[in-house]
Subunit: 148 residues, 2 copies
DNA sequence: TTATCTGCAAAATGTTTGCATGCAC
DNA sequence: GTGCATGCAAACATTTTGCAGATAA
């Protein structure tokens, strides 16, 4: 498993290699994404970036995240409820565990289903490029609390 | 596997049992949902409902779909790109195959992973209530076409 | 120096809501 | 007859976009 610093360097190097400019704003967004394990929303990224770099605008967060998504350095997760979540620490497909009460997203430690993609490709003729396995439930913390 | 008519009856009976009123608009929405295998968007449901029942408003489609989702008779699928897809023919968890070019959604015939939920529950303490397994790829038809 | 990036504000998109009228029961 | 459902339009939330000025390389 990479450290946050290593992950930051990888993203940073990738952007430079593709001739994108490294601005303080982008640096701040990369840092938040590399350090976050909880799959933050754009708004949460914005709030954290502002503590380090208060001048940043929400539009820039959106533009940076969209760019990173396009070059495959960030994975976008769409759950019900409108706002997307982003994983910049581990942008490759892996299972997620979503709490339907507090909306926290965690990464459970179970194997993925690489073999299934091949089987599916052979059966359907699709060229499979990605997969998503998500589980929905109530986390231990929320089980101990009154229902909304 | 149920027929479309059986599925329509199940949804219809469920609504009546819960004391919801059966209006012509709702009947039309139920019909479209029960007959559709391609996981339509709200807009697509709206267009089809209008051919049978032109007076229906988009807001009513939203309200009906939201109601059906709440009582578990329709499953909502959030993919990247904003608009949600709905499965009223088979609202229980099952894998999906999403074409990233034409955005068509199909149901591949592979087994689900019921056992994994139990394992996950034991490991994490979550009370698992649902799961989603989606594959992303390019469908055979789109492979033969030029990239956008 | 110069093309790219930022920040602002406006626009676009998808969805929800308030309320007067209409209709299922 | 009563209360729930509809339809309209306005409100909302999130994300995207256009553009003038700023700045990384």
């Amino acid at each position: 498993m990479e450290t946050h610093q290593e992950r930051l360097d990888v993203m940073s190097d990738r952007m430079k290699a593709l001739d994108y400019r490294m601005t303080p704003q982008r640096r701040a967004v990369l840092k938040v994404l590399a350090e976050s394990r909880e799959h933050p929303t754009v708004d949460q990224i914005y709030e954290r970036v502002k503590t380090d770099f208060p001048m940043t605008s929400l539009a820039t967060i959106y533009k940076t995240v969209t760019l990173l998504k396009e070059i495959g350095e960030v994975m976008e997760l769409n759950f019900s409820g409108g706002r997307s979540r982003y994983d910049g620490f581990n942008p490759s497909p892996h299972p997620h565990l979503y709490c339907i009460r507090c909306e926290r997203v965690t990464d459970p430690e179970i194997e993925t289903f690489e073999g299934v993609s091949d089987e599916l490709s052979a059966k359907t003729g699709y060229e499979i490029v990605g997969q998503r396995l998500d589980f929905f439930g109530v986390c231990p913390r929320c089980q101990g609390m009154a229902r909304a």
